[in-house]
């Protein structure tokens, strides 16, 4: 009956060394008010000096997200009063944003969909307030002037799953460009959700609320689910939805009123007179395009088509640029790329953190290990053994296999001899099998395996057993 309409605004802190309009360091975590200067403090008489690196990174982000880059872009002043805003205006972009008209492709429940990006613009961050119960508020201006890009989506999402998929793909794509470390826990990636509800099939938009203070993608999904329900209830009861800014409360999983919606304030936008407009040349954009690595979506297509990896597995392999590059190094030129993928997914990823990919095995060695397994030199249980030994050794996988005698026994005569030994040791088992107790097969083969110290080629062993039993 109802459908939700969801748009998301994501703020991303750019990983420039210095702030957007002055030379102060833009690093996170410094003691309060130590990365400040007259410019970012908005002292009387100062002027902004634009950091070109921030413009470069914004263009890179725009290209990665399939956006068009403006020929001419300009800063505007967004005027309002707040203690964390030293100049009483934020230098942002209103009429001529640096990027526009892009999008991100997501897959939810097997269905493909494109979430369009309306615009990306540059702006400066504000300071941080620290409220102390009954003892006033402190202000830290370190964050003032750190460059941000604001990525505004069209309201193309219809449920929390799509929102989560959008945020995930957006973040992964941005991580590939290395313009930000995109950490929600450090505030280098923040999102505001815009949610409204309308009758399915209606062309009109319902009343929108904005949800802030969402600290993870999982919480974003929860907040959206709650808010949709809340709005539907209000509509059905006749009370109607009010345009509000709400904040998500993690403990209760609900959204709570924060204040009247900010956009009711008139920001009195006007062009920033202290910064001349920026003309972006075609060959600048081309140069930056060349800097971009191949993006996650494109890589996933390749992995599925060329390497026979499943979509789900491809998603994990491309979840970070470093994992993707590692996988490609190992899989390129390998005859067993899907094996490479499997070992990487099952054994290598488990031992390293998602934030910092530090594999215990080199790509070359992973490739060799996959080859050893795929070509039948070792069995799957030996793969595990081999991986355990590789981390501490300078030897190549092949050398370890040889040293440890991990190679499978593929010699049919030898295997037959082992089986014959087992038959000789326990006539009862053989008799039971011949009398129809097929379950005994497993036990006999198990014993043969044990006799070979696990090195018998299991497929061959079973074939030989069956042949012998026939005769």
């Amino acid at each position: 009956m109802y459908e939700a309409v969801i748009g998301i605004e994501v703020h991303v802190e750019l990983a420039t060394k210095t702030k957007i309009f002055c030379d102060c360091r833009a690093a996170f975590g410094a003691p309060p008010n130590t990365n400040v200067c007259p410019v970012c403090m908005g002292l009387p008489g100062v002027l902004p000096s634009l950091n070109e690196r921030a413009v470069h990174m914004a263009i890179k982000a725009g290209l990665a997200l399939d956006c068009r880059i403006a020929d001419v872009t300009r800063f505007d002043r967004k005027n309002y009063f707040y203690p964390d805003l030293p100049k009483a205006y934020q230098i942002s972009q209103n009429e001529l944003p640096i990027c526009y008209g892009g999008g991100v492709d997501i897959t939810v429940g097997g269905e493909k969909k494109r979430v369009r990006i309306k615009r990306i613009h540059l702006e400066e961050d504000a300071g941080k307030l620290l409220h102390r119960e009954g003892a006033g508020t402190l202000i830290d201006y370190n964050r003032c002037g750190v460059p941000l890009i604001e990525i505004v989506s069209e309201p193309d999402m219809r449920n929390s799953a799509e929102a989560k998929a959008y945020l995930t793909e957006l973040r992964t794509t941005l991580l590939y460009t290395e313009i930000s470390d995109c950490r929600m826990d450090e505030g280098s990636l923040r999102c505001d959700l815009n949610v409204s509800v309308r009758k399915k099939g209606s062309a009109e938009m319902g009343v929108r609320t904005e949800i802030k203070n969402v600290n993870s993608f999982a919480f974003a999904a929860k907040a959206i689910d709650y808010e949709i329900e809340r709005q539907i209830e209000l509509i059905e009861s006749g009370e109607g939805v009010r345009p509000e800014t709400r904040r998500f409360e993690e403990s209760s999983g609900t959204t709570l009123l924060m204040g009247k919606k900010e956009s009711e304030a008139d920001y009195r936008f006007f062009p920033e007179p202290d910064i001349p407009p920026i003309y972006i040349e075609g060959n600048t954009v081309e140069k930056i395009k060349k800097e971009l690595p191949s993006m996650p979506a494109e890589r996933r297509k390749r992995y599925v088509g060329k390497y026979g990896v499943s979509e789900d597995d491809a998603r994990i392999l491309t979840s970070s640029l470093h994992i993707a590059q590692y996988f490609e190094r190992a899989a390129e030129g390998s005859e067993y790329p899907s094996t490479v993928a499997n070992i990487l997914l099952c054994d290598v990823l488990a031992t390293t953190s998602p934030d910092k990919f530090e594999p215990f095995i080199s790509a070359e060695h992973l490739c060799e290990t996959a080859e050893l397994y795929g070509s039948g030199v070792i069995s799957s249980s030996s793969v595990k053994k081999l991986l355990k030994l590789i981390g501490d050794s300078d030897l190549t996988p092949r050398q370890i296999v040889e040293r440890e005698g991990l190679a499978q026994i593929n010699d049919t005569e030898l295997l037959e001899a082992i089986l014959q030994d087992v038959f000789a040791e326990d006539h009862k088992l053989v008799a039971d099998y011949k009398n129809g107790k097929t379950a005994v097969r497993k036990a006999i083969i198990g014993r043969a395996m044990a006799k070979s110290q696990g090195r018998a080629n299991p497929v061959l062993l079973q074939k030989i057993f069956d042949r012998l039993m026939q005769g």
């Binding site: 902004p48 000096s49 508020t137 006007f270 202290d274």
Partner: protein, 477 residues
């Protein structure tokens, strides 16, 4: 020791210093003596720094003796309008809001002059935050015209003009957003130079209207202004609207010049001003220039566009004065909202509040399209028109104001908007970013000075100063 110095210009003083007829320290002491005797009458200075000045003067003498520097400004004393920052000194902008504010850095323009060896004597009085044309809105005192203390020295750089006119310093820095250097210079009989927009860095100039503000200089003669301009102008990485323009010009041949005169405007000025304009036209003609009539864009359009843009930008630039980090703050308050409201209500004067409200209105809601966007369009037209004019003439003569410096008792009879009308001849230079030079041209009734402007095309500052010199020479009386 010196008894009195005849000509208190940069050139004359520099010669005395080079010839070692006087030391920089003696010169500085001389300035402070004169200031002590005259400042209480005219109220030119808000802050004086005798200790700092003498230390700088000693350093200048040392550098001259050792041959380390031979700059034309070495040891020359000067004053700084109190909206330009000087490290360690108060920068008050003539306001209670910043009455005790000490800047942690020095404005680029001032710094370059200090680096060339010039000596900062002190900070001069001004209309609060640059908003005014009589230096009578300062919260920290009234400035009077040295020629007749019943009259205004003009504004907003009234203190700088009075200091130069009274012979206290050979030059003083000012700022010109809508005539604030040229008009006080004209009222006080000094030379007032407003460079092209961007020629001098605005870093360290407390902003009133960012796209109109220009650091300028008031001097005893054209060369005093020219020497200062050469030293302080040029691109500054801290001000991205700044540019490099030619600092020097080939000697100017006035006989090859075509100078435009907007004759239609002369109907609106007093006899004294008309006389002065005719005088300078005669001077130019006698040097061989051809004089042609020109038609300027409507002064009403200029004024309207100026006041909308200036107030709008001012309402934004003055937002930072909220009592949180520096400046005036009430003793007690119960909320952030109260802190903001009371700091600004109590810290700002009437005229400042008036313009902030005007500007806030012009940028809000529907008014934006009606006022602000319209004003921008008018500005674009005015700028293009001036460009066109300068493709057919080299310079334009222009009145600076309707009349000589008014008496205070007459001034207060006017309403604020009537006062705004007095800016009509000056704002066109700020709107179009062109350089303008106000020259003293004789005296009017009561012996009061009269000034006339020469305007040039953007970037032609050096040529403008050269013409100013030529016309100044041609007036040796």
């Amino acid at each position: 020791m010196i008894k009195t110095i005849d000509r208190f210009s940069v050139g004359a003083l520099s010669e005395l210093l080079i010839k070692k007829e006087i030391s920089a320290v003696e010169l500085t002491e001389y300035c402070f003596e004169k200031i002590a005797s005259r400042n209480s009458d005219i109220g030119a200075f808000i802050t004086l720094d005798e200790e700092g000045a003498l230390a700088a003067a000693r350093e200048a003498d040392r550098k001259r003796a050792s041959g380390e520097s031979a700059s034309g400004l070495l040891g020359i004393p000067f004053a700084v309008k109190d909206n330009l920052c000087v490290l360690g000194m108060r920068t008050t902008c003539g306001s209670h809001m910043l009455e005790n504010y000490v800047s942690p850095y020095t404005a680029t323009a001032v710094g370059r002059l200090i680096d060339s060896g010039a000596v900062v004597i002190g900070k001069t009085n001004m209309d609060e935050f640059g908003m005014g044309n009589a230096t009578n809105t300062s919260a920290l005192g009234l400035t009077r015209n040295p020629h007749d203390t019943r009259c205004t020295a003009g504004g907003s750089s009234g203190g700088s003009a009075a200091a130069v006119a009274a012979g206290l310093v050979p030059f003083a820095l000012g700022s010109d957003t809508g005539g604030s250097v040229r008009q006080p210079a004209a009222f006080c009989g000094a030379v007032g130079f407003k460079p092209s927009y961007g020629a001098v860095s605005r870093y360290g100039l407390l902003a009133y209207a960012s796209s109109l503000d220009t650091v300028g200089v008031i001097g005893a003669d054209v060369e005093s202004c020219a020497a200062t301009y050469r030293e302080m102008s040029g691109y500054d990485a801290l001000d991205r609207t700044s540019k490099d323009y030619d600092k020097n010009s080939l000697p100017i041949d006035v006989s090859k010049l075509k100078i435009g005169v907007p004759y239609a405007l002369l109907d609106g000025v007093s006899k004294d001003v008309k006389g002065a304009v005719n005088d300078i036209i005669d001077r130019a003609r006698s040097l061989g220039a051809s004089i042609v009539p020109v038609e300027l864009p409507s002064l009403d359009a200029c004024l309207g566009s100026y006041y909308v843009i200036a107030s709008s930008e001012a309402s934004s630039n003055l937002g930072r004065y909220d009592g949180v980090r520096y400046g005036y703050r009430p003793e007690s308050y119960d909320s952030v909202e109260e802190l903001f409201v009371r700091s600004r209500t109590e810290g700002f004067g009437e005229e400042v509040k008036r313009r902030i409200l005007l500007g806030t209105y012009c940028l809000t809601g529907e008014a934006r399209d009606g006022y602000y966007k319209h004003a921008l369009a008018a500005r674009k037209y005015i700028t293009e028109k001036m460009c066109e004019i300068f493709s057919s003439v080299d310079f334009v003569f222009m009145p600076v104001s309707t009349d000589i410096a008014p008496k205070f008792e007459d001034l207060i009879k006017k309403t604020p908007t009537e006062r705004y009308l007095d800016d009509c001849y000056c704002v066109i230079s700020n709107l179009s970013g062109i350089p303008s030079l106000s020259l003293p041209v004789g005296r009017g009734r009561g012996g009061m000075p009269v000034g006339v402007q020469i305007m040039a095309d953007k970037g032609f500052d050096a040529r403008l100063l050269a013409l100013g010199s030529a016309l100044e020479r041609g007036s040796e009386t």
